[in-house]
Every structure is written in structure tokens, then in C-alpha cells.
Amino acid sequence: MGQGRLTASAIISFSKELEEDTRRFYEEMAEAYPQGREAFLAFAKEAQKGWALISRTYQETVSDAMETGFSFEGLDLTYYQAEKDMRAKGYVEALKKALKLEEAAVRFYSDAAERASSFLATMPKAFRKVAEMREARRKRIQALLDNLGIRRD
């Protein structure tokens, strides 16, 4: 799924993949790095909540009369994709990967919110809400890196 005339359905599926990948990634991190276990499990849970919000809002507001087929024209989903290989060699690298994942997600949900403005109002609101959740998570990960005295690459 790359650049092109994306449908709302394709965007929702992408969101599902993104949140599922995120949940899986943080669960694996929680398993691998006990020092961040609590935070990572909380992030994984949030990913489930994020998907629940997006899917419920879409199901409750989708309308064939609005521009669901044409609103996301030009979005390039490759720009928002997480790294294919999310395995990390250590805690610091895992945090750096998490940071990139959250940054990509914030970009995706912010752009999707803007494009969804022709839908019923709740859809852009849901995208914005998840973007905010992701941004808050990005800041927490950044703080974990800062505490370790690690700079970004």
C-alpha cells in the first residue's frame, strides 16, 4: 500500500496494522527489558485503546454519501510505516526504535485527521485523539532516553 488514491477503508486497515504492530512491539519490549516493563505494558494497552477508538468511530460514522473514496488522495503510507525489523540489540536501541515508531504514528494520525475533515466530525477528532496519545508516548520515551543520557542519532 503506497502512494495513491486511498480509500477510508485502506486508512482504517493501516491504522489497525499500526496499532497491532505497536502493541506487539511493546509487549516484546516489556518481556525483554524488565527496567521498562511497566511503561511498555501500559503503551501496549494504549495501542489497543487507540485501535478501539478508531475502529468504533469509523463504524459509527462511515457514510457512503461522504467522500470516503477520495479524501485521502495523495497520502503516502510508506512515509508512516514502522521499520520492518523492529528487533533491537539492546534497551537503548529499542527505545530509539520506539521513538521512531511514535513519530511516524503522530505524523500519520495528524495527516489523516486533516484529510478526514469531510467525514462526520467524530472521525477527525478520533484521529487527533490518537495522535495526541502517540505524542504523549513519544515524550515519555524521549524522557527515558534523556534519563539515560542518550542523544538521538
Binding site: 488514491r5 486511498l6 480509500t7 477503508s9 486497515s13 457512503d64 454519501a65 467522500e67 470516503t68 477520495f70
Partner: protein, 501 residues
Amino acid sequence: MKLLEEPIREVLTLRNYIDGEWRDSQGKLLEVVNPATCKVIAKVPLSTEEELKAAVEAANEAFPDWRRTPPLARARCLFRLKELMEARFEELSRIQTMEHGKTIDESRGETRRGIENVEVATGIPSLMMGYNLEDVASGIDEYVIRQPLGVFGIIAPFNFPFMVPLWFAPYAVATGNCVVIKPSPHCPISQVKLAELVEEAGFPRGVWNVVHGDGTIASYMLDHPGIKGICFVGSTPVGKEIYRRCGERGKRVIAQCGAKNFLLVMPDADLERTIASCLTSFFGNTGQRCLSGANLVVVGEGQADSEYKAFYRKFVDAFVDSASKIRVGYGLDESVQMGPLQNKGRKERVLGFIEKGLEEGATLRLDGRNVRLVGDWPHTCFLNPTVFEDVEPDMVIGKEEIFGPVAGIMKARSLEEALEMIHGNPYGNAAAIFTSRGKWAREFQYRVQCGNVGINIGIPAPMAFFPFSGMKESFFGTLHGQGQEAIRFFTESKVVIQRWF
């Protein structure tokens, strides 16, 4: 792009749902074909007159108990139905794509709109209330009670196989009536799946019945004395006939019919958003809906000739370019923006109109006969978007309903001229204006003789709590489907005047 999973994996043999039971029909079986893949997905019976009579009889037998069931209890059946519909939302939507061909977003939109009608009907304890006035004369009070009538027939179209019966049935049963639904024989599966949920929701037997068939069964419904009224959505000639025959037999009618909808683009319209809205309007549901755009009128109100020429060219070129990029294919592919026509015959009918447009001298800017698909599907039912320029209101393609992905572009130098074009057409279902100026929008809304009006909205589809309107040759009847008007349609107003000596 991989396909979403198909919920129908083997050929279904459909049965009638009569008196709370699934009954085999004695009628001949027709094949139901997925128009994208051309695979048979079900067999549907053309039921017999006896089977219809059994359904009407069951409904009439169920009526006395059902009407005495407290409205709150009836509403609770609808609440349970809504919950089941939500739980099966995705399956219901994918079935629509498989039997009709529409894209998955469109199908989900249809499912949502169907559910919204159930939601509105759950408010029946409030919606069905009458009204009263004390002391209309000395010591005399007067009040209105709304009472159900009995059994209603619902004759459904192919283009919204799930949603359209839900413009009527939830209100009919909420008010204490019973229904017999005849789905389209081309797209009957959605109503079977819905009836399965009705059964699961615990509606008493006989309240909700489904009898498959074609026009012959519909005709029996019109004549059956046990049916008090008919709700129909379909073509104008059939709607007129239904209206006439029901009139002769004293039945109530809602007949929502054909359309030729005009979309006006004013010089100050937001180009990008107008085009997205027009694409949805003209090519959404592959142009097979009564709210689809048909004629796109570029209006040069207040512009000098040179300005108008430039505006017209800029808009039309952008529209044609966007239409040419629409991705056509199987609706279960999420990258697809337009599906096939519902069957081969419908495609041939549209091809006939394209030929006619060429004969009449319209300019074919985008030829959808050059089929280009996403995915390797048989071309049998597919067309790509087609755009004609230089269409005149008196051309066949300018005045008759095509019911396919064909846009006719017209020119008007003023809003007045554009309104004359609309009013010269016999239909009055929908019309829309795209503008940033309130004055033009207000003028349009005030004067246009159409039932559903869009202001910067390409598909002015009324939400469930508003009536689905329609005027002129697009509607026959008095009250419309959905919302409060449906409540009035399905009830008698009994007026009581009382005094106590």
C-alpha cells in the same frame, strides 16, 4: 492489494422467512451472481402466490398481539436487533459488496444508515405519542391517538439491498404493524441475513416476514387485501403503477422513484472539495442510486464570457482528470474506489446511453467503455467513469435516468438558467449547489423544485431522523420514508372527544 475475506464461501440456497420459520419455496430458483467475479453466490426462489399469502396470513395473525405489546417492549426488540447488527457489521457490509458490487466503504456506509433507522425507531415510546387539548369546549377534552393499521408490504430495490427496507420496516414494527419484505431478486442475501438477526433478536413469529420473488410477487402484494400499505423504491414507471393500483385498492403508498439530479458549480466554489464531492456523487455506488449526480452544470453567474470560459475549462479539466484516475475493481479490494454495475444487463443499458449521447452530438471526454481494472476480473459488469461535455437538457442523456457512472456536463450562464434546466426535467429527487456565497445558496434552496437539496454536498442523503424526500416524478405518495413521516405513515390518527356527565 489483497482482498478482504469473502463471508460467502459456498453457494447459498435462500429460503423465505414466514411466521418465524425458514421455509423452502416451491418456486423456480434464480442464480445470484457476484458482479465483480461473475461467480454464483446464491440461488433465490421466485416464490409462489401461495407462499406470499402464507406470509400475509402469518403477519395478520401476529398483528393483534404485537400491537398490544407495549411500545417499550417493541423498542427493546429493536435495541436487541441494533446490537446484533453492530456485532455483525462487517459481515453484513461485505455481503452487500458481494451481491451488489459496491466498494467496502460504500457497503459499510449502507449498513450504518440502515442501523441508524433502527436506532431512530427505538424511540417509539416518544415518537408515537399523540397529543391533546383540554377544554376544546366547556368540559370537553380532545386528543389524538396513533394506532397501527396491520400489515405492510415492502418492495426493495437492488441498489441498496440492505438499507432501503430499513427506511420502513423498523418504523412499521415499532408502531405495532407487521411487515412482509420482498427483496430484489438480484441482491436478496442482505435481507436474509437481516431476517436471521430479527429472529435472533426475539421478534414474535409473523411480525417480520421475507418472501423472495420478482415483479409477480410484488404484483400479488399490491392486490392482496390483507396488506394495508406498500413501500416501494425503484423506477418511476413501476412506482406510478404501484401508486395507481394501491389507490384503487385503498392502500397507503410510499413510492420513491427515479431521478435525474443536477449539480450546480458556481464560480466561487471550492474547487478541490467540490471535485471530491462530485466524484462521490457521480461515480459512488457506480452511479446506481437515486441521489447520484447526473448532470453537472457549470454556472457562470456574474462572469464575463472570457472569465466563464476559463472557469469552465479549469473546472471540467480537473473533474475529468480526477474521474479518469478512479480505481475500478472488486469492492473487497480496499484500494478500489468504484465497483462494477450490478449485472450485465445494467451495463448494457448504460452502454446504450453512451451510444445515444454520441449520436446526439455530445462530446465524449472520458470513455468508460475502455475498461481498466485494478485486479484481474472479468469485464462483464464493469465500466470505468464516463464524462460527456456539451450535453443539452433535451438530449436523452441529459433528461433520462442512466443509473450508471456517466456524468453529463452542461453550461449555464446564470443561476436562473440553471434552475430552468432543473425545472424543465420531470424528476425532482435531488439537486445540489456548490458555492461560497450564502445568497446563491439561499436562492437555490428556496426555489429549487427537488425534495433533497445539497449545499456543498454532492449526495444529499437525509439522515434517518429526517424524511427521505422527493418531488414530481421522483415520488408518489404523501408521506416519505424515515423519521417522523414514517411514524405517521404507519399509523392512523384516531381523534377522541370526551366529556363526562
